[in-house]
């Protein structure tokens, strides 16, 4: 299937142009937040600024939606705008697939606040309805006025991969003519605490994708990326995209570039060495947007931009202690195939393959 449009909401702004600018700009330090449990400890986090998700025109009818839904709606909206495709009359032929690792957990905890503060019989129905994982997908359909299949998947590290595999299936079956497929995850004070307990946090604020460490460092992030996918070619097509669960241990058919989703979120990253051992150029852009289990979507957006513009973006953090064939300079390049690879916490691999159509 082809990528006809991309929408991005991330720590440095909104829109595919902002994202490309960030890729060119390279690493910038994350903000630092004090842990509520230990105010003397600060945690680096790539938060999305409130003004980034303030759009009175698009969000007019969903003012009560939470941050999670707003990030998803804006990224989805922007993907459609970026494609130039007019969705009127096509509403029922557009499917929506939202991938999320943790869902709107900030709202879930607000609902738990209600239970603890006001008792079982006095909670807010509005907060409850927004705490349901598929609220964001529902809002996307509502804002866009689309009536096709609308689904939310949650599979931790492979959430976005499963979403891509399903989007491809829907298009192949003729279930839809277009699929808006994307990922969204948010950070929140409780998640900050969990990350501080479960992950090795990069004190210097730098994710190091090429350390291939057994205990890699993370910098929590949040945001959303959506792709408008279709089988047909469009004037703005970026590339082909397909998802693959790898049953074997290896990665066949070497591409022109691997992008590694090594961001410290899934523990042991030594498995990436297999692919890194080849002569293929390696990249990883997690330091631009932060550690997220749905970070694969951001990497696919980076890959799509590189294929469309025939350019390589320099890796934002080039700590290369393993001596891999790192993409070190932003420059024009002839690229036809990029595999985005993620390894989960039990060492399973999945990849998303981007090709020039």
């Amino acid at each position: 299937m082809n990528v006809a449009g991309i929408g991005v909401v991330f720590t440095r702004g909104r829109g595919i142009d902002s994202y490309e600018e960030a890729l060119r700009q390279g690493w910038v330090p994350p903000c630092r937040v004090e842990l509520s449990s230990a105010p003397d400890i600060s945690l680096p986090v790539y938060y999305v600024a409130q003004e980034t998700i303030t759009d009175k025109a698009v969000l007019r009818r969903i003012r009560r939606a939470d941050r999670f839904s707003k990030m998803a709606v804006l990224a989805a909206w922007d993907a459609v705008q970026d494609s130039g495709i007019v969705l009127e009359e096509k509403g029922s032929s557009l499917g929506i697939i939202v991938a999320t690792a943790f869902g709107p957990h900030a709202t879930t905890f607000r609902f738990l606040d209600d239970i603890l503060d006001y008792g079982h019989a006095n909670v807010s129905p509005t907060i409850f309805s927004h705490s349901v994982h598929n609220a964001a997908a529902s809002y996307i359909a509502y804002v866009l006025g689309t009536r096709g299949p609308t689904l939310t998947l949650s599979q931790f590290a492979f959430s976005f991969h499963q979403a891509i595999i399903l989007a491809e299936s829907w298009l192949n079956e003729g279930r839809c003519d277009y699929v808006l497929v994307g990922g969204v995850d948010e950070c929140h004070t409780v998640m900050e605490y969990i990350c501080s307990q479960k992950l090795a946090i990069a004190d210097d604020g730098k994710i190091k994708p090429f350390h291939f460490s057994a205990s890699p460092s993370a910098v929590p992030g949040e945001g959303s990326v959506f792709f408008l996918a279709t089988r047909t070619n469009t004037p703005k097509t970026y590339c082909e995209i397909s998802g693959l669960f790898l049953y074997g241990d290896g990665i066949e058919e070497a591409p022109d570039m691997y992008i590694f989703d090594a961001d410290g979120m899934a523990g042991d990253e030594r498995g990436y060495k297999d692919a890194a051992a080849t002569s293929v150029m390696i990249a990883g852009y997690s330091p631009v947007f932060g550690s997220m289990m749905t970070g694969s979507a951001f990497h696919c957006a980076a890959g799509a931009l590189m294929l469309k513009h025939q350019i390589r973006y320099a890796c934002p953090v080039q700590d290369n202690s393993c001596g891999v064939n790192l993409c070190a300079v932003t420059e024009s390049a002839e690229i036809k195939k990029i595999w985005c690879v993620r390894i989960n916490c039990v060492h399973e691999k999945a990849s998303i393959r981007l090709k020039l159509e």
């Binding site: 029922s92 609902f111 239970i115 009536r147 409780v190 307990q197």
Partner: protein
């Protein structure tokens, strides 16, 4: 490509397996009662599962335990309990509760002390339903957990259908599971749609839903794979339709066009007309809005003579499991040739032109439909067929 159903399994308050559940359906027993699983001031009746097999008990992971019970039964029914190695097996399961990091004790402690033991988070991370089932039964393949609120189970079966048609896997375990949990009980209560008595789907005097818990699983295979395994008597998953209301987070679109679109899509995929459908296993939650919209749509699509029922009077609303359990019940009904009474229904609602069956009813025909409606305006429909004439 034909996709066949070679195994089914289910667990709910109506029984720990399909034999028990069908017996409950025949007897008309209703196992609803007070909440015993957790302390609460809420007095709504609920449908709790009483007998989870000890070997599947997982501390703090009740949804997974329920799912594993249904998986075991479905695999046994399909003759696959011994060896799945060498097959590309996909797992697609729907849930609501198991997808949420909503451990109240963890959060209470964190909120008051600024720190809390992380074991609740570890359980959550190990409890992704599809992944946990895949690891338990030791299969390798695509795993996806569908979190589409109350249509999750039906949509998970629809996703697995797409996987098989597209060669993503050879066999798929699909369905849904959800435990009874305080958080949705409070939430549904706050919405004012929970009944303080046993629910009465489609009844004139219905006062809302009862929450329940359970799991339903179907084993799906391509017809070619099932034939290679020597499976002869099968059911078919002939169609799946899904459509969004794009209307409201918690209320169905009043004109029912989302549900109608999902139904017509499923029928078209199955290449049948509404006249070919011998019964509908309706979502039938017993809320004012759901039943009015659904009853009206069923009457409009299938006509006044359609035989339909809701099993929620036996199971309660099992949320992410509901669509899957009801698909399992639909498949079982096609095998057995009868459908149960729509328990709880007594009085015709003047606003709904059709009424559900009120007694165990023989059915004749090949095709049946199961419908699901959900928060967020999701609508899903599955067409299941028996193989009287050798395929769909």
């Amino acid at each position: 490509m034909n996709v066949v159903i070679t195994g089914i399994g289910g667990i709910s308050a109506a029984g720990a397996n399909l034999v028990e559940i069908l017996d409950t359906f025949q007897s008309g027993r209703r196992n609803g009662g007070s909440v015993s699983l957790f302390p609460t001031v809420l007095t709504y009746p609920v449908f709790e599962v009483r007998n989870i097999a000890r070997k599947w008990h997982r501390e703090g992971m009740r949804t997974l335990s329920l799912a594993l019970c249904a998986v075991e039964e479905a695999l046994g029914d399909a003759g696959l309990q011994d060896d799945l190695s060498g097959l590309r097996v996909g797992i697609c399961l729907g849930t609501t509760v198991a997808s949420q990091l909503n451990d109240l004790e963890f959060y209470r402690t964190y909120r008051s002390a600024g720190t809390a033991a992380i074991d609740a988070v570890d359980r959550f991370l190990k409890g992704n339903l599809a992944e946990a089932v895949a690891r338990t039964i030791k299969v390798r393949g695509p795993a996806a957990t569908v979190v589409n609120a109350c249509s999750s189970g039906a949509d998970a079966i629809g996703v697995a259908l797409s996987w098989l048609r597209n060669g993503v896997c050879d066999i798929a375990l699909a369905g849904g599971a959800d435990e009874l949990n305080l958080v949705p009980l409070c939430g549904f209560g706050s919405l004012g749609i929970v009944s303080d008595s046993l629910c009465s789907p489609f009844d004139r005097d219905r006062r809302g839903l009862n929450l329940g818990e359970g799991a339903g699983v179907v084993i799906l295979e391509t017809e070619a794979v099932s034939r290679e395994r020597g499976i002869e008597r099968v059911l078919y998953l002939s169609g799946y339709g899904s459509a969004a209301d794009a209307y409201h987070l918690t209320a169905p679109r009043p004109d029912g066009t989302g549900l109608e679109a999902a139904l017509r899509k499923a029928l078209a995929e199955a290449n049948i007309t509404p006249r070919d459908v011998c019964f509908v296993n309706a979502h039938g939650t017993a809320t004012r809005d759901n039943d009015k919209v659904e009853g009206t749509v069923l009457a409009g699509v299938f006509g006044p003579g359609i035989k339909f029922f809701s099993t929620k009077g036996f199971t309660g609303h099992t949320l992410g499991a509901a669509g899957a359990l009801e698909a399992v019940f639909t498949a079982a009904a096609l095998r057995k040739g009868w459908i149960p009474a729509s328990i709880g229904f007594v009085h015709q609602d003047d606003e709904i032109s059709v009424s559900p069956v009120t007694e165990k009813t023989r059915i004749h025909g090949r095709f049946a439909v199961s419908t699901s409606l959900a928060f967020g305006g999701n609508n899903a429909a599955l067409v299941i067929a028996c193989a009287e004439n050798g395929g769909s």
